[in-house]
């Protein structure tokens, strides 16, 4: 039976999945590290090796993301929004509102019962509303995004930040560290600031249940929980929130 690959070459991370007859065979995740072409190649190879396949076994490649243009093999280009929508529908068919928090943008996508994009809002003008800010603060505090999530849940007195700007927030976070504030409280404060920004966007479209979160931001349980509180709805996250667009890309490419 033919194999199909889905690639999502994002601004920070490359993701690949290999599918056959609508089932996921293997997946790969690699950082970009300054080279889209190399990262795209290595993430596909990673997924192929896991599935014990070679390039020639792949009948079609569907791809999305900022760095998709650097993929060396022939592929079908699909928009990230369509891929996200389709991918999340595949994993959790009941999802009607998808919030994707990526490295360079945040998106709120309304998903139709058939997995198509019904509506969409994107924030990509400013790092304040994107997952980028999580990475900046994680670096300041010397923790990973995943650890940030756990720490955030332990906060007792979340910091109050006066700014949303990623640059100023970094400065404020450093000041708080210097004043001896606990990491947990700084992170929880950051989550409140970021969640407020994304929620403001989400609420411009009616948030319908089920609601899911994907992208690197969904790895951060603290952000997810804060979003839940602010939106007032339960939020589902897929087991691997980074792979949804790659899955969608493979599914859409298989139909072409």
């Amino acid at each position: 039976m033919p194999y199909v690959a889905g690639l999502d070459i994002g601004s920070a991370i490359s993701k690949a999945v290999i599918m056959q007859n609508g089932a996921i065979i293997s997946a790969g995740i690699r950082p970009i590290e300054g080279n889209f072409a190399l990262s795209a190649e290595s993430v596909l190879t990673e997924a192929l090796q896991k599935a014990k396949l070679t390039h020639s076994d792949i009948k079609r490649i569907g791809a999305c993301g900022l760095g998709a243009a650097f993929i060396s093999q022939p592929f079908t280009k699909i928009t990230e929004i369509s891929c996200q929508s389709r991918g999340v529908h595949y994993l959790i068919p009941t999802v009607r509102t998808l919030i994707e928090v990526g490295n360079q943008s945040s998106r709120v996508i309304k998903v139709s019962p058939k997995g198509k994009v019904a509506d969409c809002l994107v924030s990509d003008k400013c790092a304040a509303g994107s997952g980028r800010i999580l990475q900046i603060i994680a670096k300041v505090l010397g923790v990973t995004i995943r650890e940030m999530g756990e720490l955030s849940l332990q906060a007792t007195r979340p910091a109050k930040f006066t700014t949303g700007c990623a640059v100023f927030l970094e400065t404020e976070a450093i000041s708080r560290v210097a004043e001896g504030m606990a990491k947990e409280d700084i992170i929880a404060g950051l989550h409140q600031t970021l969640a407020a920004k994304i929620c403001a966007m989400a609420q411009r479209m009616k948030v319908e249940e089920d609601c899911a979160m994907t992208g690197g931001g969904a790895v951060d349980i603290g952000l997810v929980k804060t979003m839940e509180k602010q939106i007032g709805k339960n939020i589902i996250t897929p087991e691997e929130p980074l792979s949804t667009a790659a899955i969608g890309a493979a599914l859409i490419a298989a139909e072409k």
């Binding site: 790092a127 109050k160 700007c165 990623a166 100023f168 404020e172 000041s175």
Partner: protein, 287 residues
């Protein structure tokens, strides 16, 4: 009679000591985490330069982001008023002031020597000196050199992001593509200028225009702004001190409202000392 203006900016602290006729001393020092608490140290430097003992200073006005961290100041005035007064004293013909500070940028309108309108961005690093700091850092060029360097550009690169974080990434990408640093810098200055211009345009830019603050020291940014405005702008010989100068001018006026006895009493109570509290968060709220 001597009076002083202190401008505790987010990045740089400035002091001007004046008498009724002239400026006696100006001091410009970085506002380190230390100096924010130690405004009195900068004041001491200014006193030494002016050759005036502290007891001879009759009135002190503090302004800027850290103005409430000056325990020996008689009065606090917002930096918008102070910049307006300082520029108006230097250049009475100026109707629009564009102040590019370390962590904010402002547009100020002057009418008959009075503040008529203003607009300010302190929410976002784009359009502020901070943007330039971040970019010079990532390109490995000294902040004071980026202006001159950008003027050598023949083909300014397109920087489409307004956000400092994204523009930084874009600058790095251009660098990796082999774009010359001067072209990236020229693109950066254009992007920053257009951000500042669109903000100040909201209060209607009228001739003459003055550019002040640390950003005014960047010739590349000034040229990019002039291109946007469509005519040359005035840059004071020392664009950093207009706020402190304005504060000193206000101090000079305040003296006249106060009786000689009260001035004496104030001088007795005033001590050149460090601030005893430091609460950044509450400071920011008080504007």
């Amino acid at each position: 009679m001597f009076f002083a203006g202190l401008d505790i900016g987010s990045t740089i602290t400035k002091v001007v000591i004046k008498n009724q006729k002239q400026i006696c001393a100006t001091v410009i020092k970085p506002t380190g985490a230390e100096h924010r608490r130690l405004a009195h140290k900068v004041m001491e430097d200014a006193l030494a330069e002016a050759g005036v003992p502290f007891e001879k200073i009759d009135y002190i006005v503090a302004t800027g982001y850290g103005r409430i961290n000056v325990p020996f100041a008689d009065h606090q005035v917002t930096e918008i008023t102070c910049h307006m007064r300082g520029v108006n004293w230097l250049f009475p013909e100026v109707k629009t002031i564009i102040d590019i500070g370390g962590q904010d940028s402002k547009g100020i309108k002057v009418k008959n020597g009075k503040l008529s309108n203003f607009i300010m961005n302190d929410k976002c690093a784009a359009g502020t000196g901070r943007f330039l700091e971040v970019i010079s850092d990532v390109l490995g060029v000294r902040l004071e050199d980026i202006g001159e360097l950008s003027l050598r550009s023949t083909r300014p690169s397109d920087i489409s992001s307004l956000c400092t974080v994204f523009a930084e990434q874009e600058a790095l990408l251009r660098l990796s593509e082999g774009t010359p640093v001067e072209d990236i810098l020229a693109g950066i200055h254009k992007a920053n200028a257009s951000r500042i211009y669109s903000m100040v345009s909201k209060i209607n830019i009228e001739k003459e225009v003055a550019i002040t603050g640390g950003g005014a020291k960047n010739i590349g940014l000034c040229k990019a702004l002039e291109e946007k405005i469509g005519f040359p702008a005035i840059v004071p010989p020392e664009p950093l001190i207009t706020g402190a100068l304005g504060a000193a001018l206000i101090a000079g006026e305040e003296i006249e409202k106060i009786s000689a006895d009260e001035l004496k009493q104030r001088a007795k109570e005033r001590h050149l000392e460090a601030v005893t509290f430091f609460d950044d968060e509450s400071n920011r709220g008080r504007t």
